[in-house]
Subunit: 512 residues, 2 copies
Amino acid sequence: MRNISRRSWLTTALAGSAALAASLPAAAKPVEAMPEKWDEEFDVVVIGSGFAGLAAAIEAKLAGRSVAVFEKMRNPGGNSIINGGIMGVPGTPMQKKEGIDDSPELMMEDMLREGLGLNHPDKVKKLCEEALPTWQWTIDELGVEWNRDRVSQEGGHSVPRCAIIRNGSGSGIVLKEIEKLKTLGVPIRTRVMMERIIRDADGRVKGVMVRDGYRFPNKDSGKIKFIKARRGLVLAHGGFGADIPYRTIFDPKLTAEIGTTCQPGATSEAWREADRIGCQMIQTDWIQCAPWTSPTEKGMGIALFFAQGAAAMFGVWVEDKGGTRFINELANRKVRADAIMTLLNKGTKCYAVADSLGTAPMEISRPGLLAKMLERGCVRKYETLEALAEGEKINLDGLRASIAEWNKAVDEGKDAHYGRYVNKLAKPMSQGPWYASQMVPKVHHCMGGILTDMDARAIDCASSKPIPGLFAAGEATGGVHGAVRLGSCAITDCIVYGRIAGKSAATASPWE
Amino acid sequence: MRNISRRSWLTTALAGSAALAASLPAAAKPVEAMPEKWDEEFDVVVIGSGFAGLAAAIEAKLAGRSVAVFEKMRNPGGNSIINGGIMGVPGTPMQKKEGIDDSPELMMEDMLREGLGLNHPDKVKKLCEEALPTWQWTIDELGVEWNRDRVSQEGGHSVPRCAIIRNGSGSGIVLKEIEKLKTLGVPIRTRVMMERIIRDADGRVKGVMVRDGYRFPNKDSGKIKFIKARRGLVLAHGGFGADIPYRTIFDPKLTAEIGTTCQPGATSEAWREADRIGCQMIQTDWIQCAPWTSPTEKGMGIALFFAQGAAAMFGVWVEDKGGTRFINELANRKVRADAIMTLLNKGTKCYAVADSLGTAPMEISRPGLLAKMLERGCVRKYETLEALAEGEKINLDGLRASIAEWNKAVDEGKDAHYGRYVNKLAKPMSQGPWYASQMVPKVHHCMGGILTDMDARAIDCASSKPIPGLFAAGEATGGVHGAVRLGSCAITDCIVYGRIAGKSAATASPWE
């Protein structure tokens, strides 16, 4: 009986499921009580003041709409303003200057491979194609200043393609976005917390209920106000990396014992609300730990710029017991963080090590930063390799062998052991002083989130159709990065899709 | 500025997020229109008639409650009735007979390791501790007949611990559960499709809207009825493996080109509805492909019992080009399916190969099945290894070397190449006739789903608290298996948590 019925079933399986998805009601959410009156009204309301939200606000305003940006924290910028300041862009003048061949196709290949094919390919394609014009837009429209001498390389990219913001931080974009909005007459209203999304009986999102004067994390603070969004609400509220109870729902390993690079406002309130009103959430269990953070610093810190920009590109990463390399230093973040966590669980510590030749390029891309690291003690300086091994308690013979191995790779232009990319600027490690920093992974980025279509419209979990009036972009969304966001692709993602969300919201028809 | 504010933020991050999660309203869902009258009323309403739903119904009825079981398809049993019929249980008499040391702790270790630590540990612990008493319950309470001679081994388990149902299929449990319910006076009502979950303004689930007389997949078929659930609604609707549009939302790789072992009713309607009314969904992107299915059979087929029960335990898995082994034949399903898909994408085919000594144990655990496989042509028989290599177009020299390698492992009790478990019953491969089947992965099981607490209460996505009146178990839930469900753990999961869900629903206080 089993097999006969299974066979007859199967003939209808495909047709059946497609029909079901297509036929479910477009707006299956139940009735939301509408406010008796709206306190304020805008064409477009943006939640969140990071890269994505600000880009959306700029485009909506440039399209001639009235716009409000709400930020729950005291200061604008979210995680973006403490971001490391690199943007994945294929085909920049800096790449050309360094003689690096690159293309949107190669970047797409990298993102899909490292994302384990969980990425939605059309989203990745768009991001890679729009990266260069979007980078140019940051210059032409915002006046962002980029380092014109160097590109950087983050893990998982097959070539160096990360443009570096001149001031070395995401603030170099965020502050320019805020300036632009100021000239456009759009203020960033901080301490306004979105508590409810108002989705009406017809399925359309019509506005939000906020707490104006909110003081994080006091949920009862602030005055309740109803804000009407005549054309669109743009959710750009970022990730939840700092929300331990919420993140452990999806990945129970990410307990309070693990730190985070995120600002404390990276919590789940907007995630819960988006989920509640019917957004299709996807891949929320893919929560990235950054591999390169220092245990002596709180949050993201600055040691990472040494571990990544000096040691991973021009030095070595070794474990203390044997002094040996343990991973491709330019593997993606997940691969590297997993490797370090596995060793940590065995009581083995991991260090980034570079010589003075290896730190030299960083002095060009991020002038003055090394001195600051030494001052803080998150990176330590030794006159000799022997002193470094003794000071950091790293096996000296193993360390020497690791350096010899890497130096051979530099000579031959090929890393036989881990297949690591050998930068054209790399020189054999040989010249003191020597530098080291320990690395302990911290929760960094949420790859999952709200599913959106190519117009950044949020998708309904019941119908798989767009929720009228609702748009989303940036870390609040899922599907662009799949299993692993490559370093430097957050800015690209946020600005490309933030702008699309702003344009889409601006051109949506008003609901009254 | 960046670093100062970041530091001060961090002191409140943990306290803040915990406070937020605790303070959100327990029932944050908006008003659902209640029906004017209920057509029928039960203490406990169960959706789905697989292992979990039926176990829940039995426990609810044994607790003295009125119970209804609704199944949308024409026949009861869902994927359970076509399940391969093995149950992961540490400490059975059969294990003792074969001299295999095992414990709930070892099983838990296996599940967490292979699940990549995405599993909720308390859920895994409970499952492993309850496995043996639950297996005993299937005998004492249901009269399920188990093979008393052998245990089987599925990938990822560190020892053979899979009890085998005597009739070789999940139907050996499902039919006994249905019989039990019949004696208890609980009918399985087929062709009843749950279209809506009725969640009231107070946040409690109070019943369902169904289509009685539904004919899958016609969404408009059947008569609308409102069914009141006085104490509890139990969602045991299984997975969505057959729903291509829905599964590609979460994992875009799982296109229509990839088959499925699931019955065609494994679609998303109940998933979308559970999500819509506010269930916290987790890990929905972890969708397992089974490695061992044959491309010549539709659906699950029967060749898998050869590929797994003969070749993976006592033979070898090789690729055609080189005739070489390509993976630990007893690695978990994801590892093996990924390896096969990677090779397939390069135009390389993968085969399970066993000799007559290797198929002999299967003749004991599943008598008569080999003849059926040969008759269907999904497994092919050859008098000599040479003929097999020629017939299947496998590199003969490589195949010989692979067999020699495995035979050495059998002699030494240790597989030097892949660390594969060497079964105590294994003998060197030497005796014809020889058998082979090709393997092409198919979508098999959804690891993610509704988050539940230890009492099988469904958790609200806004509040992280239980949704009053709503319970869930089995494949419809997430968090037990993490990244990879080990073969044979589905039955254990479904019956352990199905019973808990039934008991919890039965003891919930009635809403009027």
